[in-house]
């Protein structure tokens, strides 16, 4: 297989940009995600790929919940900060407006378009990542539909290929 062809095709895939957060045993964290999608209508479920060594993966597993926030057009810098390694930015929530969810204790990031909270219902390994499946148990819209959601295309980031 030509790896350049593979990379070029995979980079044609369309993605939104999301902040995924979780909480466990006193620790809260969030990271930038684009490899996620809904995967069931009834019940409503999401599938999310998380790098094996992501700090938040331990919180998702330990707490059993995660929250997915839709970022807004114009939040490229915010997205970039969330996308840095926890080793480089130990406290990514430091300068972010957030509060713990009453349902799941996951950090709710207030400057986003809205969020869904999920209860983990399964996981499976997938190469260098882990696929986590969650059932949506709570949701809130934090905007009136403006601005539009942030897309990978707008950021110019390349997390695929």
């Amino acid at each position: 297989m030509e790896s350049e062809a593979r990379r070029n095709v995979l980079r044609l895939f369309t993605y939104g940009m999301y902040a995924v957060s979780a909480h466990h045993a006193g620790a809260s964290n969030a990271f930038l995600a684009n490899w996620l999608a809904q995967c069931s209508f009834d019940p409503p479920m999401l599938v999310l790929a998380v790098e094996r060594d992501a700090r938040t993966l331990a919180l998702i597993r330990g707490g059993g919940f995660f929250a997915v926030h839709v970022l807004a057009s114009g939040q490229r810098e915010f997205a970039g900060m969330l996308g840095r390694s926890s080793r480089t930015v130990p406290d990514k929530l430091k300068n972010v407006r957030w509060h713990p969810s009453a349902h799941t204790q996951c950090p709710i990031l207030e400057d986003t378009l809205g969020y869904v909270e999920c209860r983990v219902v399964g996981e499976m390994p997938a190469g260098d990542s882990v696929i986590v499946v969650g059932e949506v148990i709570n949701a809130a819209l934090l905007s009136n539909g403006e601005p539009a959601p942030l897309t990978m295309k707008e950021t110019g980031f390349k997390h695929s290929g």
Copy 2:
């Protein structure tokens, strides 16, 4: 949970539009998919949610492979045809330019921006759907980068919520 809030947030998720095809025991088919994402860099893998009763799911399972094609901006009508039920449109490939892949026998849809072919490496149930994980084993770009990929937003379709 307010189901309206949930639907409104899930409809803010950003999706591309893809044609997924498979072949088994003399039968070939394709369907319109948007619930998919890359899920590993090394090895390159994709995760795809397929409705339990989709005819192509049996072909994916039986053949052990699937191909994901990136649709192009302007292909709303083509996408709509691929999105209809196999019960309504028994032969969706009838008026489509395609040939069987030499690697996997999956139908290669020629009027798309490019495709990746995957070998199924796992699956798990997820509500009304099945999550299929595939490793990318072949890929080809069929365009020079124009037009842009088709997005769910361009089509106005609502397969989420």
